[in-house]
Symmetry: C2
Subunit: 164 residues, 2 copies
């Protein structure tokens, strides 16, 4: 498990092999195993496998790789279910998807959307996300066509003991 | 790895056995293996093992279990390193800590702090966190004295395919 955490890297090149339905289900089960404040589970997930929709999502300024990706999972939130903590909750679910993808031999990259209004408007238009629902990010996923070494970026200067 | 994602549950009862230095290092390595927007790594971590400080952190309204915990990791952020995405980045690092704790046989619970001003002021005072640094959460950690079954809370009504 610790190995999977270190093996998770941003993978932006993919083969044309599709991600299977079983794998997609596992990714979503992992997402919805995340903790949430008061167990309020404010999350929604849009699974995108349609080629035209994936291509349209490349409007995200860092989203060029979506033209190659065979899957995107767009993490959304019904923010009124957890006004204070929906970003945290949905980010934990996102990290679970990235780690589950790594464990399944898939590559992924997290493309931040909220709170950037242009990025959010673009995704909303492509996928028809309703006005009351926030778009936190787009996760680009596919079978990897590049390899990166496991790593931590551990930095002792970021660690404080028993006080700042 | 998927097993660890499903096995991670909020554990609020602990034995008195301390968490070892090696385990604490692993938790921090896992945290700093998280992705961050533009690899800006806005995170800081305060490791708390001092009994009086752990007891003082029980001022968090959901933090009673910290009186039993032998470790807390307080996840903080230098928000100016990533104005838009520090909450997401530090939440991913937090989820990595929870999963690494599970993999190491430890129990943990995520106590949300930011953006609640009273909770943030209390932690700031106990640990001397400087004014420019945000406090995202307190993670309570210890050797588990309760057992919970693995689970996902998968809910098909939260899944949308190729559009909302």
């Amino acid at each position: 498990m610790l190995d999977t955490i270190f093996a998770r890297r941003s993978i932006r090149q993919y083969t044309s092999e599709p991600v299977s339905k079983e794998q997609i289900k596992k990714l979503l089960e992992a997402a919805m195993a995340a903790p949430s404040a008061g167990n309020r589970k404010p999350w929604h997930f849009v699974v995108v496998t349609d080629r035209a929709k994936l291509d349209a999502l490349t409007r995200h300024p860092r989203g060029k790789m979506l033209a190659q990706a065979t899957l995107a999972i767009v993490v959304c939130a019904d923010a009124k279910l957890s006004e204070m903590f929906w970003v945290q909750d949905c980010s934990a679910a996102t990290e679970n998807i990235l780690l589950a993808a790594t464990a399944l031999g898939l590559g992924s990259v997290w493309l931040g959307v909220h709170p950037n209004p242009e990025r959010e408007a673009a995704v909303r238009e492509v996928l028809g996300v309703p006005a009351g629902i926030a778009v936190l990010n787009v996760i680009s996923i596919g079978h990897p066509a590049e390899k990166k070494e496991p790593r931590t970026q551990y930095d002792e200067s970021r660690v404080h003991v028993n006080g700042w």
